[in-house]
């Protein structure tokens, strides 16, 4: 089970950032905005404070990248070469649709009943009219996809992010979100079905999820690796920034960004 869990969670998480859908709706309730923005406030620890396990994390990151470069990326390239963009979109939709129970449970745990309704509606529409989840007609009628997971639920409940944590296969996370990912595995009904067919299905799902997440990130991560002075620190920053925004349901809390401040005085010494 542990291997399945890790692979699955890795995929699930690896690109929480890249997979996060930007949804900036202009309409809405200002109080709700404020509430959503507040969630990220506990997550303000920067730099060293957020990464007390940096030594360990760097070793794990280096180890993971060997696996990433030699196995995951070559497979993702094969996946890209053998599928059409539309097919990959369909596969992503299908995998997203499978996440419905986890998203729904977390919508409810967060008291987000409107979003829970969206999740149910999307599932009903996409599973039927959307050919078992391959299509996303719900999106076209205005019910946008959103992600939720137990890490986000814990954030809504006020739990601090805890230290940054990078585990091989599992990808970037934090103590809170890593724990959340384990809980999400238990929120998925497929966890409770034991049969050979189900075991195979889970492996296929984990593998497909890994490729579906990694494939669109081939160039972005290559760019970061190429341009960054410190790939580890850049990767951590990109991950934490995008994860924070995801927890805030796709909004940015501008007040919380570090102060770029006035540096003109610095040149007047």
């Amino acid at each position: 089970m542990s291997m399945r869990l890790t692979v699955f969670a890795a995929l699930f998480f690896f690109l929480a950032g890249g997979a996060a859908h930007a949804q900036l709706s202009d309409a809405g309730d200002p109080e709700e905005f404020a509430e959503e923005l507040k969630r990220g406030e506990a997550d303000t620890t920067e730099g060293k404070e957020i990464d007390p396990w940096e030594g360990f994390n760097r070793k794990m990151f280096a180890f993971h990248n060997v696996f990433d470069e030699n196995l995951l990326v070559p497979l993702a390239k094969v996946y890209r070469a053998t599928t059409h963009k539309k097919q990959r979109k369909g596969i992503r939709n299908f995998l997203d649709n499978l996440k419905t129970p986890v998203i729904l449970a977390n919508d409810l745990l967060q008291g987000e009943f409107d979003r829970a309704g969206d999740t149910l509606g999307r599932f009903a529409i996409n599973t039927t009219v959307g050919f078992g989840g391959m299509g996303d007609p719900a999106e076209r009628i205005g019910i946008a996809q959103h992600s939720e997971d137990f890490g986000q639920t814990l954030a809504v409940w006020g739990l601090d992010t805890g230290p940054y944590l990078f585990l091989p296969f599992f990808g970037p996370s934090t103590l809170r979100d890593g724990f959340g990912a384990a809980v999400d595995t238990g929120l998925d009904p497929s966890f409770y079905y034991r049969s050979d067919a189900m075991a195979t299905a889970k492996y296929v799902r984990a593998g497909a999820t890994a490729l579906a997440i990694r494939e669109p990130l081939i160039e972005p991560l290559d760019d970061i690796k190429e341009n960054s002075l410190d790939y580890y620190a850049s990767f951590r920053s990109f991950y934490l920034q995008s994860r924070k925004r995801e927890i805030q349901n796709g909004r940015t809390n501008y007040d919380e960004l570090p102060d770029i401040g006035d540096f003109e005085e610095f040149d007047e010494e």
Binding site: G47, L229, D230, S234, T252, Y254, L257, I260, E264, D267
Partner: protein, 204 residues
């Protein structure tokens, strides 16, 4: 206006201010739209090098590299020596320019248009933009591209950061730079190490 009227206006204003912590800023929006309009012809060029050169001109004109260069040093901005500054800033500008070039050429062939703005303070405004001519299924159709505009002491607007979907470049650079400085023993030695790191990257 009599006293009552003035008081009523004051109360109204106070309520409006309290109710909306962030205002749109027309001047900053116009500034960014102007920059984007100037970038447009470059993004349409077929020749990649001409595209990069065009963007470089705009970056030099509108992006406050000195400001960003200090910001990304974090606390070390106060400790960098004048000798180090002389080495650091030209290298940083080369490095940061190339990052902006690469980020912007991703949108080549697209037309970016300002969609709104958020005032964080009088001097810090976030101008939001999107791909205006996106076709359905376009990779960047839903990407929110933001420009952090800073008003300097002379009242001039300069860009100090760019972000996509809430991920900001300068913030990422600050984390990277401060990490290198710290891992090399902090300033001043850590700053020397950082300068060498940038030099290697730029020379590549």
């Amino acid at each position: 206006m009599n006293f009552i009227q003035k008081a009523a206006v004051a109360v109204l204003l106070a309520v409006t201010v309290a109710a909306s912590p962030a205002f749109a800023n027309d001047a900053a929006e116009q500034f960014v739209q102007k920059v984007l309009d100037e970038a447009q012809p470059y993004l349409e060029l077929e020749d990649e090098q001409a595209q990069l050169d065009g963007i470089a001109t705009l970056v030099d004109k509108y992006v406050d590299m000195r400001h960003i260069g200090y910001f990304v040093l974090g606390k070390s901005a106060r400790q960098i020596t004048s000798e180090q500054k002389e080495e650091y800033f030209p290298l940083f500008e080369d490095y940061a320019r190339s990052i902006y070039q690469e980020a912007l050429t991703r949108y080549s062939g697209e037309r970016l248009a300002v969609t709104g703005s958020v005032d964080r303070s009088e001097k810090n405004i976030f101008v939001q933009s999107k791909v205006a001519n996106a076709k359905p299924g376009d990779e960047y159709a839903d990407t929110l591209i933001e420009w952090w505009v800073h008003v300097n002491n002379d009242g001039e607007m300069r860009i100090v950061d760019a972000g996509a979907d809430g991920i900001f470049l300068s913030i990422e650079q600050q984390e990277t730079f401060t990490s290198i400085i710290a891992d090399n023993g902090g300033p001043p030695a850590g700053i020397d190490a950082l300068i060498e790191n940038i030099r290697e990257k730029v020379d590549d």
